[in-house]
């Protein structure tokens, strides 16, 4: 993927962060070690990764989705949970910026959670009362234990959907931890909001903001690509060392085929992501639809590629001594984050046929 000079700097910094911080912490993140998680988040903050897509007017770096994808990809090779946290963070910031609803109290590096993944056009689960307070419940809100703000759609008394930003750690926000399959750094919570005062309310809706959703689809594709590339690296390394039937398993024809399939899948996805980002830069008509289709394809490839990655490592791949079983779980959690796949397939089909 060709990167601009600025973006390449971010990519290199992220790759170093992934190698030196994330890789070392990933096992403990998966064991839900709060200290390890805090250190990774602090490290990302120090590098400016939490402020990557925050507007410059709010003290952020004002980067677009190219830089975000360049950052997410190497981090996802080591831990897709950390990459997904950065994706949700950037998405929430992006939604606030597009809706001109950035609260004064929100710093560019503050953690923002944004449970906007879901079915396009679905009714919001929250309500804005006449007094401007938000109530209702949300399920599986990522990292709601550490996010300072929550960005979510809420319907007002007049039936208009709005984008609300509210302090997530306020009294009135009851959190119940939900044990999920993967992306451990995202640690989801079910939230009940009882009349929480909002920091900002905008006349916009994230779920109906197709540009914001397309942006997320591109970021999720980069995370999926990182999962595939990480799987390939682990499997190749293992296949060169592990012996079976008197020879290294990389010398077995079927193992070579599986490795080549993983490589092919990652290469095709990298090309497709590069093309989709180029269309986004040119603002080609249809780039949003392409982004959604890419995310569908990317998450499917990540699911099957990470599963094959476990198989290539045999019994060892099934244990936590290797990172591969985690990648297999993370790929499914990433797929679920984007909303039910059958609905996404139908939306892609409708967009392609020009119906719906």
């Amino acid at each position: 993927m060709e990167l601009s000079e600025d973006v390449a700097v971010f990519e290199q910094a992220a790759a170093r962060f992934a190698r030196e911080v994330v890789a070392e912490a990933s096992g403990r993140l998966d064991a839900r070690d709060a200290g390890a998680r805090r250190r990774v988040i602090d490290g990302a903050r120090e590098l400016g990764l939490l402020a990557l897509c925050a507007p410059e007017s709010a003290g952020g770096l004002g980067q677009d989705v190219d830089a975000l994808c360049a950052v997410l990809r190497p981090i996802a090779r080591e831990d897709a949970g950390v990459a997904s946290l950065l994706l949700v963070q950037a998405g929430g910031q992006r939604a606030l910026a597009r809706a001109n609803a950035w609260p004064e109290a929100l710093a560019a590096s503050d953690l923002v959670t944004w449970p906007a993944f879901g079915v396009a056009g679905a009714a919001p689960r929250l309500r804005v009362t006449a007094e401007g307070r938000v109530e209702g419940s949300l399920e599986l809100v990522p990292f709601a234990d550490v996010a300072s703000h929550l960005v979510a759609d809420a319907r007002d008394a007049a039936g208009i959907d709005r984008l609300a930003c509210l302090p997530a750690l306020e009294r009135g926000v009851a959190r119940e931890p939900a044990k999920a399959l993967g992306l451990s750094c995202m640690a989801p919570f079910d939230l009940s909001l009882a009349g929480v005062a909002t920091s900002a309310v905008a006349e916009s809706s994230a779920l109906s903001d197709d540009e914001a959703r397309a942006w997320l689809s591109l970021g999720a594709s980069a995370v999926a690509l990182g999962l595939l590339e990480g799987s390939l690296a682990t499997a190749l390394d293992y296949a060169r060392q592990r012996r079976q039937g008197g020879k290294r398993i990389v010398e077995w024809g079927e193992v070579r085929r599986m490795l080549a399939d993983l490589h092919r899948s990652a290469s095709v996805l990298a090309s497709a992501l590069s093309g989709a980002l180029a269309r986004r830069r040119r603002d080609d008509p249809g780039w949003r639809d392409d982004a959604h289709v890419l995310a569908l394809e990317a998450t499917e490839r990540a699911c099957s590629g990470t599963t094959d990655g476990v198989q290539l490592l045999g019994g060892n791949g099934y244990t936590k001594a290797y990172p591969q079983e985690r990648r297999m779980r993370d790929a499914r959690q990433l797929r679920a984050l984007l909303g039910p796949a059958h609905a996404r397939r139908r939306a892609a089909c409708d967009a392609w046929l020009g119906v719906g």
């Binding site: 476990v310 019994g315 791949g317 099934y318 679920a336």
Partner: protein, 470 residues
């Protein structure tokens, strides 16, 4: 099919459904969460419950103090329990892996000793399970095929000494290892001539020089622990040698052929069991997906009202049925032509059923401890066993295993995908089913080895110019 087998199948399915209602369903998520949080914890509660339900003796012949249910019915039981939790199904199933391996050596005296211990343990309320220890740190699938075994140097060695063997080495990924009292250990006398020097031993927990090592921290099937077994100058007396080169020589068959036949008997029967696990997982996933699709309306309309969802449910139904048909064919082959054929003949089945239990138990020591019984069993089990039957049972075992496990994973993933974020919650059970299902493609020989075995036994078995493992 002998009269009474169909009754046994009904009994086994009913037993499984009651066990699911009272044990599996209420406990499986809690056990999974508990072992996830503390990988060193042992699921004794599940083992004790299974023992209290009589599941470790239900499929032992009555002569050994068991209930004597037909082995065919075990597969139905395992499928049924797997619809809720394949990890708990394995806590029962893998005991019969050890039992089958010991049975496949046809050492009647040792079988009686070990199985009597199992039955006595159950009566006392002290579960006595049997594990099978084959896999080693540097040899997984290799240990299950003599043609691969001859290309490696296994690490667990049994050195012949006066009165028995001294064993050194490590076994890993041993299912139920930490909760079993007996371990059927497959090792070799000479690392450089592994297939020609195979030894199968029965080692009791507590034997000096034998210790239980680390537990694997696995992605799924948490109810069934995977253990490391460590042998350090561990003496095993001749009375606990299930088979070795000397015993093989006494019946005039090279140990290499005997060793391969023991492995073939075992994997043919247990791979059908993995197929049954897979069919159960596929059924469970299908049922969960159906329930979700009929109840949930994320976009205002019920999921099941979407035609593409109905298509996926039909696919899932087909997957579960195909997985079931595959293991049934394999299990049938085992009963007609494989390890279980002795007790599946109408005459033997009828006699075993007709004799009063007290009489059977009184006769058993005299008959089973008589060396002539073992010699006769081995003559029938090894010397007179046709290669065509071995190919059929082994090939179909592999076929059932790879089909069942692939379709189990496919259905688990389809259900998870359909359920979206709801499915990723631990409490929903769908994500656990996916984690559990993946192991089915790995244990009992990876699906890659099993494909090679299908080729070896069912496709290219008459092609002498092709090396299936080349």
């Amino acid at each position: 099919m002998p009269r009474g087998v169909a009754d046994d199948v009904e009994i086994a399915i009913d037993l499984a459904r009651r066990f699911n209602a009272e044990v599996t369903a209420p406990r499986h998520l809690e056990v999974d969460a508990r072992v996830s949080a503390d990988p060193s914890s042992l699921p004794w509660d599940v083992v004790r419950a299974a023992s209290e339900w009589g599941l470790y003796t239900a499929w032992l012949p009555r002569a050994f103090g068991g209930r004597g249910l037909s082995m065919l019915s075990l597969y139905y039981f395992l499928e049924e329990v797997s619809t809720v939790c394949v990890g708990i199904a394995n806590v029962v199933g893998v005991h019969y892996l050890g039992v089958s391996t010991l049975s496949a050596t046809w050492n009647a005296r040792l079988m009686r000793r070990v199985f009597d211990d199992v039955a006595a343990g159950e009566r006392r309320g002290e579960p006595c399970l049997v594990s099978l220890a084959i896999t080693e740190p540097a040899a997984g699938t290799d240990m299950e095929e003599t043609e691969l075994l001859e290309r490696i140097r296994p690490g667990t060695v049994a050195e012949r000494v006066a009165g028995g063997y001294r064993v050194d080495g490590r076994k890993v990924f041993i299912s139920n290892g930490h909760v079993s009292r007996w371990h059927v250990v497959v090792c070799v006398e000479d690392r450089a001539r592994a297939p020609e020097t195979g030894v199968v031993l029965a080692v009791r927990t507590g034997t000096p020089g034998f210790t239980l090592g680390a537990l694997e921290n696995k992605m799924g099937q948490k109810a069934c622990v995977a253990s490391e077994l460590v042998f350090d100058d561990c003496f095993v007396g001749d009375e606990q040698v299930a088979i070795d080169a000397r015993q093989s020589a006494s019946i005039g068959i090279p140990v290499r052929a005997v060793f391969q036949q023991v492995i073939d008997y075992v994997v043919s029967s247990t791979r059908a069991g993995v197929g049954a696990f897979g069919a159960g997982v596929a059924r469970g996933a299908f049922a969960a997906a159906c329930e979700h699709a009929r109840k949930r309306s994320p976009e205002g309309a019920r999921l099941v009202d979407d035609q593409s969802v109905r298509m996926r449910l039909a696919d899932m139904y087909a997957n579960a049925q195909v997985a079931r048909l595959a293991w049934q064919e394999s299990a049938w082959a085992n009963c007609e032509q494989g390890l279980f054929r002795g007790l599946f003949s109408p005459a033997a089945f009828g006699i075993e059923r007709a004799l009063p239990g007290a009489l059977l138990r009184r006769l058993a020591p005299r008959v089973l401890d008589d060396p002539r019984t073992t010699r006769w069993l081995r003559h029938a089990g090894f010397a007179r066993y046709p290669r065509s039957a071995a190919n059929l049972t082994s090939g179909w075992g592999s076929l059932a295993k790879l089909v069942g496990s692939d379709l189990a994973l496919a259905n688990a993933d389809l259900a998870l995908e359909l359920m979206g974020s709801d499915g990723t919650r631990h409490a929903a059970g769908a994500e656990k089913r996916l984690r559990d299902a993946k192991l089915l493609q790995i244990y009992e020989g990876t699906n890659q080895l099993n494909r090679l075995n299908v080729f070896k036994c069912l496709v290219g078995h008459e092609w002498s110019d092709v090396d299936p493992f080349g």
